[in-house]
């Protein structure tokens, strides 16, 4: 099974990704994660304007047979929620790094970016989990 691992983003070991652009970050879940969950049926995300710390709970993502917690890769204020995935959660399955993005945040502490995983480190984590 070949999963997608774009190299222009950072990763968390809990399978979230973050694309940093200036002081904003776009957040989603990885191709491996959407595959593990199966057909996604519902996503719950925080309200716009809420500020959350890194590693805190930022919502949930449900499939028919499982539920996963979304964790904040970085601390920040929720600036935008992707309306497409609320209406059509299947976009996360078909395009986890593209139209299936989940939220955009205003990064409050850019030093936290260094704590995120590179694509190579994340690939290793996936290899371990598959065993």
């Amino acid at each position: 099974m070949e999963y997608e691992f774009p190299d222009d983003i950072k990763y968390m070991k809990t399978h979230e990704w973050a694309r940093i652009e200036g002081d904003m970050a776009t957040i989603g879940i990885t191709d491996y994660a959407q595959h593990q969950l199966g057909d996604i049926v519902y996503v719950e995300l925080p309200e716009i304007g809420r500020t959350l710390e890194k590693d805190s709970n930022a919502g949930e993502i449900e499939s028919v047979k499982a539920v996963g917690e979304i964790l904040m890769p970085l601390s920040g204020e929720i600036a935008e929620i992707n309306a497409i995935i609320i209406e059509s959660p299947e976009s996360i399955n078909s395009s986890p790094y593209g139209t299936g993005w989940m939220m955009k945040i205003k990064v409050s502490n850019s030093s936290e970016i260094n704590e995120l995983l590179s694509v190579e480190d994340y690939k290793k984590i996936v290899e371990e989990e598959k065993k």
């Binding site: 519902y42 719950e44 449900e62 499939s63 028919v64 499982a66 539920v67 917690e69």
Partner: protein
């Protein structure tokens, strides 16, 4: 007796296939000192002997010819169709319909139950059931704290005392604060920290609240606060404005009145319904309609299971698994058997007969109806002598009304009278006579 179908020869054959010599070897993994010889219980009985035993025990209970007791459980007429349907073996000996394709019968029935509850209450969505009214209220309260992320609740006086106790226990379990307040204190106590206001209507004392007004008061002061209504006899919905038209966020009720015998207090039925926006936070099973993957036919299945404990485990908001499925089937058949005509008529009779008793009681000096608001089939009455009334009722084979001192020790000499469509004119006349006799006997110092 037992229900094991094997004879000794069969058992020997089976032991051989397994590769052991006797039944004891089946328990080889159990430490020897844990194996018991036999239980210290009598030997088994055959059917006729069991029946005799139970009949004798049941004779120690008294069935009254008529009842004036309510207070959370009610005597209503149960249509013959209810027992007929729930006795269908394919329904009552089945399990939770996990394999949808082999359980379409029950799944459709539960879907129809969810639908009649939605129609009756006008709430957007109803689940497949909770254990009873009291636990449904407790779970609704917890659901409100999860939705609002707030940790305090206000309970209005007038909620059934046993229900309040159950809510207290559940809240203690999760460190949720609650206060019971009088309705006129609502304005002072309500603030942005309150997750929900819980109230009962018709309440324990019989009062019907103007729920629309209450909802307005709550939402104006605290727009994010949820309003949760509970009800102990939902037959009133045959006539009363449904919660869905009054801005109630979560509605729970005891469904025993819908076709379930009193049976000493259980099993009952927890009716649970809420506004659409809270759907994903609702506890309990839900049946949904869908299509075949490779076809056009519509069918039913358990859905949104990712809310439940078997998937979420410690992240679940509720641990409920087995609920009250067969009781929800009873309720469905009751509601459908009566139809809108029957539901309206039964509710009207309850109102009118209770009203009739109120009028008759008021004619007896010493009896005073204490309700200031309209009532359904229950109301509270101040009596000259509650013990005498109770005694006189029993003399006439009537189940006496509840003495409020059972729950409120300082409310002596007040009873909660319940009158339903099952109270014939004769039984009402007897009750009025009992009330008169109680006065008479009290005057003469008799008991």
């Amino acid at each position: 007796m037992d229900f094991v179908p094997h004879d000794d020869k069969t058992i020997t054959e089976m032991l051989k296939v397994i590769g052991i010599n006797n039944l004891e070897e089946l328990f080889q993994d159990i430490p020897k000192d844990l194996i018991i010889n036999s239980l210290n219980l009598p030997l088994g009985l055959s059917e006729p002997d069991v029946l005799k035993n139970l009949k004798e025990l049941s004779q120690k209970n008294k069935v009254y010819s008529n009842s004036f007791l309510g207070a959370g459980y009610y005597f209503h007429y149960i249509p013959s169709l209810v027992d007929f349907v729930i006795s269908r073996t394919e329904f009552y000996t089945s399990y939770t319909p996990y394999q949808a394709e082999a359980s379409q019968g029950y799944l459709q029935a539960i879907y129809e139950y969810q639908s009649v509850i939605s129609r009756l209450t006008q709430m957007d969505v109803a689940n497949a059931s909770m254990y009873d009214g009291s636990t449904a209220l407790a779970e609704a309260a917890i659901m409100a704290t999860i939705i609002t992320r707030k940790n305090s609740l206000l309970l209005l006086e007038g909620i059934h005392p046993e229900y309040s106790e159950v809510v207290k226990t559940y809240c203690w379990g999760q460190g949720i604060n609650l206060r019971i307040i009088a309705e006129n204190k609502l304005k002072d106590e309500l603030n942005e920290d309150i997750a929900a206001v819980l109230f009962q209507s018709p309440n324990f004392f019989g009062d019907i609240e103007d729920v629309s007004m209450l909802a307005k008061r709550v939402k104006e002061k605290a727009p994010n606060c949820l309003l949760i209504q509970c009800m102990t006899d939902p037959t009133c919905l045959g006539v009363l404005k449904p919660p869905g038209e009054t801005d109630v966020d979560i509605f729970v009720a005891e469904g025993q009145s819908f076709g379930i015998s009193p049976s000493f207090g259980g099993p009952g039925l927890g009716i649970f319904a809420a506004k659409k926006k809270y759907l994903r936070k609702m506890p309990g099973r839900l049946v949904g309609k869908t299509k075949e993957i490779d076809g056009e036919r519509e069918g039913f299945l358990l859905t949104l299971q990712a809310r439940e404990q078997h998937i979420r485990r410690e992240k679940a908001s509720s641990n409920i698994c087995t609920n009250q499925a067969l009781c929800s089937l009873s309720a469905l058949i009751y509601i459908i058997s009566l139809g809108k005509t029957g539901l309206r008529e039964i509710a009207s009779q309850n109102f009118q007969k209770a009203n009739y008793v109120k009028i008759k009681l008021t004619e007896i000096p010493g009896y005073e109806i204490l309700n200031k608001k309209p009532t359904y089939n229950e109301f509270i009455v101040k009596c000259p002598d509650v013990d005498a009334l109770t005694h006189e009722c029993k003399q006439l084979n009537l189940l006496p009304p509840l003495c409020l001192s059972k729950y409120f020790p300082n409310l002596k000499n007040i009873v909660l009278v319940c009158v339903t469509e099952m109270n014939s004119r004769e039984s009402i006349e007897k009750f009025i006579n009992a009330a008169k006799n109680a006065l008479h006997n009290k005057k003469e110092g008799k008991k």
